[in-house]
């Protein structure tokens, strides 16, 4: 597995798109928490908003421990799509250049080729989760320097949920890439699916099948998205799911297994 990952990284490193996307992602990862902090301060300084005593964003403990892990994971899951672009381009390039074929001729089994991409996906997911953890510690400490160690690890499960969420999204991108083989079309379909098709479907299902809210939550992207629920509503006294529910994990898990198996079967059973 380490050998396969080394091969993948050797393929990626010289590619411009990889370095640019990785850089963009890193910059976004590091700056977004600070930017959102300034944004909240700006909202608080806004006269109209600060007139409402219920609504004082600068007082929200967004980056304080215990709350921090869910909040950061939620913010970061919005930029994991950058990471999925790297996977999409890396996989579709192999079909475009026909290098997947040459890799097999040179001595990869189709399974090894699949594993090499999986190793890359795991590597990116781990990188995301580790960065979340490190930045969480730095931000949390700088905002709230006196903390108790048990508070630090409260809600740490959101780091794992974030790992799973990135892994899940990248697997979805991987399956689409193997299926469609053209980077532009895959990216267009993915964006279209995430922002238009699924919200529409889930709206239609929710309004027509009122007794079955689960169906809307079980659509593939919704299932991955729901691993980490929107936490900020609690600051304006609304009901919020501030834990990871087993039901969400199982729903996402079913799709995840489907992505895993279908990517494997698509790659190994087809002629290259």
């Amino acid at each position: 597995m380490i050998r396969l990952l080394k091969i993948e990284l050797a393929k990626l490193w010289p590619a411009n798109y990889f370095r640019i996307l990785l850089m963009l992602w890193l910059v976004a990862f590091i700056t977004i928490p600070f930017a959102s902090n300034s944004f909240l301060e700006w909202m608080a300084s806004n006269k109209m908003m600060s007139q409402n005593p219920m609504f004082n964003p600068s007082q929200w403990p967004i980056f304080d421990f215990a709350d921090l892990w869910q909040n950061l994971a939620y913010i970061y899951k919005m930029i994991s799509i950058f990471m999925s672009f790297i996977i999409i381009i890396s996989v579709t390039n192999e079909f475009d250049y026909k290098t997947v074929r040459q890799n097999v001729i040179d001595g990869f089994s189709k399974k090894e080729f699949w594993l090499s991409k999986i190793s890359l996906i795991v590597c990116f997911s781990l990188l995301s989760a580790v960065l979340l953890f490190i930045l969480g510690l730095i931000i949390g400490y700088s905002m709230f320097p006196i903390f108790k160690i048990e508070l630090l690890f409260t809600n740490i499960e959101f780091v794992f949920a974030y790992f799973f969420q990135v892994f899940y999204l990248l697997m979805f991108a991987f399956v689409l890439s193997i299926l469609i083989k053209r980077a532009g079309i895959v990216i267009a379909i993915m964006v279209f699916w995430i922002y238009i098709i699924e919200p529409m479907l889930s709206g239609i299902i929710a309004s027509s099948l009122v007794d079955w809210p689960l169906v809307a939550d079980s659509l593939p992207m919704e299932a991955g998205w729901n691993l980490i629920h929107l936490p900020f509503k609690k600051y304006i006294m609304m009901k919020t799911q501030d834990f990871i529910s087993l039901q969400d994990v199982v729903t996402a898990g079913v799709w995840f297994v489907f992505f895993f198996l279908s990517s494997y079967l698509l790659l190994t059973k087809r002629d290259l």
Partner: protein, 296 residues
């Protein structure tokens, strides 16, 4: 034996791209896989190299069956040279080294062998077609393969490029490696191969040694100042099967024991002096067209 194929078939829907092929290739031979475009050459090689799943039948490399591990000892190029265009030639070969688990030090050696060492740090996308083809051969040589599989290696090259690639292939063959060469260029197969087979519409219609096929019959061109007399004398000569009259010369076709010396002696004995006498070596092209015609 380096390769044994048994009843190998591939269907694409109703189309039988490769139909029940049986073939054996011996160690040290340079084997030509001939056939018109679309006859199933690349599909056959694709199955032998693990990228196309056979519909039925089996094959075995080096008597060890078929596995990625076996493929690591084969150097192969299918159709055009395939590399990552955004990497340099040397970086591309590094990737192949990692896949084949070959030491990195081989890269410089093979680049030297195909005369690309001075361009190793240029991007693959900046290479000319001839250089790409040479890089592909270098890549195939990385694992010091027991057998080299080349599919149309001179396709699209200029005459100089073709000569370079042929020289490289001949040198490799002389070093004792087995080569499987797919081509629709007959003259290429005739120049480099020791054995050949012919594929047509997915069927194996012929296989044999290149030299045998040129020794089963002889053609000799003769002319004198009286071709009419010459004609009647030649027709009565032993071993002659047929005499064909061309514009200024006569083409004598006979079995393999006929040669120009006999013809000359025979004619001199009959008092005929010839003005022209040449042995025509039959080209593979002729033979190939015959084989295709016979199969119809």
């Amino acid at each position: 034996m380096i390769l044994k194929i048994e009843n190998l078939s591939k269907n694409f829907g109703k189309l039988k791209a490769v139909n029940q092929i049986n073939l054996q290739i011996e160690q040290g031979s340079v084997f030509g896989l001939l056939g018109p475009n679309g006859s199933g050459k690349t599909t056959t090689l694709g199955m032998l190299l693990g990228v196309t799943n056979p519909s039925s039948g089996s094959f075995s490399w080096f008597g060890q069956g078929d596995s990625p591990k076996v493929r690591k000892n084969i150097g192969a190029i299918l159709e055009q040279p395939v590399f990552y265009p955004y990497m340099t030639g040397a970086q591309n070969l590094d990737i192949v080294c990692k896949i084949k688990e070959v030491p990195k030090s081989r890269v410089e050696q093979v680049l030297e062998q195909v005369n690309l060492l001075d361009r190793k740090d240029d991007l693959f996308s900046a290479y000319s077609l001839g250089m790409k083809q040479r890089l592909a051969i270098a890549s195939a040589l990385l694992c010091d393969p027991k057998v080299l599989v080349l599919d149309e290696p001179t396709n699209g090259l200029d005459p100089q490029g073709i000569a370079e690639i042929r020289q490289i292939i001949t040198d490799i063959a002389d070093s004792g490696k087995s080569i499987i060469l797919a081509s629709h260029l007959l003259d290429e197969v005739q120049k480099v191969c020791s054995h050949f087979c012919v594929l047509q519409k997915g069927n194996l219609i012929y296989q044999g040694k290149v030299e045998d096929d040129f020794s089963t019959s002889t053609s000799i061109e003769v002319a004198s100042d009286n071709n009419q007399q010459l004609m009647s004398v030649l027709k009565s000569m032993p071993h002659v099967k047929e005499v064909i009259e061309n514009e200024k010369t006569l083409l004598v076709k006979g079995d393999s024991s006929l040669n120009s010396l006999q013809v000359n002696k025979h004619l001199t004995a009959q008092g005929i002096v010839v003005s022209h006498l040449t042995t025509i070596s039959k080209s593979l092209e002729e033979r190939f067209l015959e084989i295709l015609a016979e199969s119809k």
